[in-house]
């Protein structure tokens, strides 16, 4: 596995400026962990895949049937070198299949337990996360991934419990969250998925669970290296003021660093397969004179291999002060693109919030701005989802009309996918 890093910097600063903005683009290559690839067993230390299924009362019927079917199909995908477990939860969590290798026999046993599940009871998400964390900790050296399926909102009694469970689970495993139907809360799932470095998505129709699970499990098994950190070394007098993953989606990492030494911070990025991700970083530096060249940061990707830290460096983030406005006002394409994508995400979220509280003018304005930004930046996926919530009159001008009737699922889908960005053009 190799990491290739590029940096894109606003390299000219106006006189007096003390902020440097940059994008660090990371590409991982050479992962041998392709599902079905026999080399995978030799080259990776293996993974644990945990499946967490909501079996509260509201799951009764189609949802339960589809979930059981999807879990069966997901288990079938696991190769024998993978370990897995299954947790079912309602008001409390039950470990219906403890941590095992994914042998045919173990898969068969697990499936039998899954098919016996019955829906009933409340929703206590913290119990499911804590039960999973215990299973993952049995084999801390492996990659830890969980897939979390729910259809409702967490019990009010569990609000504090969920916070503390997330604090315990952070850094132990990664977790993708899926909400089936429309009776769950996007913010709640986003809280879990962002804390656990995963994604949150809606599965509007129960029939969609199977395809989604298959894709998620395949992606998880393709990851071959875990505990990867984005390391930012700065000069003593410089400060990291922002660090966000901005592609494939926005994940704010700024407050989640670990201090390595006085000048070095590590930001968690979880496990990697063959993929590319972009990070937006910003620094506060001491001011300099015209023509002075300053180093703001040396970024790198760090991971452990056989107990040793392996570091892949990026080109340094360097800027020069100038009194030439033509230079200092020019924003690097990558930096501009992701600034735009963040604005797009905010416009959608603020637009939907305004719509919810009945502020039609604000909602129309913000969602219009979003349509314009999505069209300009080529974010087709988001544009398509926007067009289910508003009628786009003129994308270039940002003119939209709110639709009178919007499917709740479409609104939730737009909300959740607002942080998914289009990649900056190479």
């Amino acid at each position: 596995m190799q990491f290739r890093l590029e940096t894109f910097v606003n390299s000219y600063l106006p006189v007096g400026a003390t902020r440097v903005d940059a994008v660090v683009s990371v590409t991982a290559e050479g992962s041998a962990a392709t599902p079905g690839n026999p080399l995978a067993q030799a080259s990776t230390s293996g993974a644990i895949i945990g499946i967490i299924v909501d079996v509260s009362g509201s799951m009764q019927g189609d949802r339960m049937l589809s979930a059981k079917h999807a879990v069966r199909k997901a288990i079938e995908l696991l190769d024998e070198s993978t370990m897995f477990f299954i947790v079912a939860f309602s008001g409390r969590a039950t470990l219906i299949s403890p941590l095992h290798l994914a042998t045919s026999e173990n898969k068969y046993q697990a499936d039998a337990q899954v098919q016996r599940l019955e829906a009933g009871g409340g929703t206590c998400m913290s119990s499911a996360l804590l039960a999973s964390q215990q299973e993952f900790n049995k084999r801390p050296e492996l990659l830890h991934y969980a897939l979390f399926l729910t259809d409702g909102k967490n019990s009010d009694d569990d609000r504090a419990g969920l916070e503390s469970a997330l604090a315990v689970c952070e850094g132990v495993f990664q977790c993708d969250c899926r909400g089936v139907g429309t009776d769950w809360q996007p913010r709640e799932l986003q809280k879990i998925s962002s804390k656990l470095l995963g994604s949150a998505m809606i599965i509007a129709q129960p029939a969609g669970i199977e395809a989604d699970f298959r894709a998620a499990i395949k992606a998880a098994m393709a990851r071959s290296i875990g505990g990867v950190r984005l390391r930012l070394w700065t000069p003593k007098t410089a400060k990291v003021i922002a660090c966000k993953q901005v592609s494939p989606e926005i994940v704010v990492l700024t407050d989640r660093s670990t201090q390595v030494d006085a000048q070095t911070l590590d930001f968690p990025t979880g496990a990697w397969g063959n993929e590319s991700r972009d990070y937006y970083v910003a620094f506060e530096i001491a001011s300099g004179d015209i023509a002075d060249e300053v180093l703001a940061c040396r970024p790198s990707i760090v991971y452990s291999e056989n107990g040793q830290d392996v570091k892949s460096p990026a080109p340094p983030i360097v800027a020069t002060w100038t009194d030439d406005e033509a230079l200092s006002t020019r924003i690097n394409d990558h930096v501009a693109h992701y600034t735009g994508q963040e604005e797009l995400a905010q416009s959608i979220q603020q637009g939907l919030e305004a719509r919810d509280r009945g502020d039609i003018d604000a909602a129309t304005h913000m969602l219009g701005k979003a349509a314009k930004l999505a069209a300009e930046s080529g974010n087709e996926d988001t544009f398509r989802k926007l067009a289910k919530v508003v009628d786009v009159v003129d994308a270039a001008q940002g003119t939209v009309r709110l639709k009178a009737h919007v499917d709740k699922a479409d609104e939730m889908d737009l909300d959740l996918s607002s942080t998914r960005t289009s990649r900056a053009h190479r």
Binding site: K236, A238, I285, D292, L295
Partner: protein, 346 residues
Amino acid sequence: MQCESCGEAIEPEHRFCESCGHPLIESAVAVTPAPAPFAKTDKEKEPEPTYASSCRCGAQSDARDADGYCSVCGLKFDIVTVASAGRNHRETILNNTFVAITDIGKRHHTNQDDTGISLLPEGTGATIAVCDGLSSSCAAEAASEVAVAAILDALIKHAAPSDASVMRAAISCAQAAVCTIPSPQGAIGEPPATTVVAALVNGNHAVLGWVGDSRAYLVGPSADDCRLLTHDHSWVNTVVDSGEMTEADALASPFAHAITQCLGPLTEEDGSRSPDPVPSILELDIPAGTTLMLCSDGFWNFLSDPAQIAPFMQAPDFITAARQMIDYANGKGGRDNITVALYCPN
């Protein structure tokens, strides 16, 4: 026609002056074209830059990383020597605060001028020197080189407090160093000898010291900014100061370029060792917006008034200004080696 070196009458077809041996035709050897400065040809061929001894934030060279950045404040360490074609043409550049160019000129076979800079450890200033090895002496190149190194070394070691005594001591060190240069075997001419003008600048306070006719000026883009700071140890000044001759008469004399003091182990006519030179010292505050200029006579010979420097200082940056000064002296014939050093402390 007259020889421009000694003033004797010459025949047009002669290649050398019968009287003094001065070459009368620009030979291919003598004319060394200056390299195109900063023409980036091949990345590999770029010389390893020489970094300043400290960062402007005060961090010492151990804080400098492999790419030249300061690990404390992130600023790139100032780069000292940037372009060099050996001794014949060397440009020493330190961002926008210091530029020195020494150039062989058009007539001499060697460059006997030298110049250098050292930054003060706390990043508060610099020491600068310009030396002009005497052509009449043997080892003139070595003399100027040794004198620059010795004076910068002495100044940097004893920079604080920066006052006249430090400068006197440093010039005395340079004198001692020049006296240790062995005369090459079978050398003709006088022992190694050189002029010196040096500056110790701390903040905007400067201490100047000089021996001979290398000069210091305050210069700026306006004619009012430009004035001569030093007073040459020269025959012209001696006779003009004593009232013996008018300046115009003195300048017309064949002795116009003779100097009355220099560094080196000189002897009297009776063979006894001459006393050590007595340096002149001047302390001043460099006014904001003005620049300190040190130069050899290869440049100032073409000036009749310090105000003539102002147009050069209107260039967009120091490098351009200094190059234009060198070009100007070469355009006037480049009879001597040319050295110009510009330092702006603020």
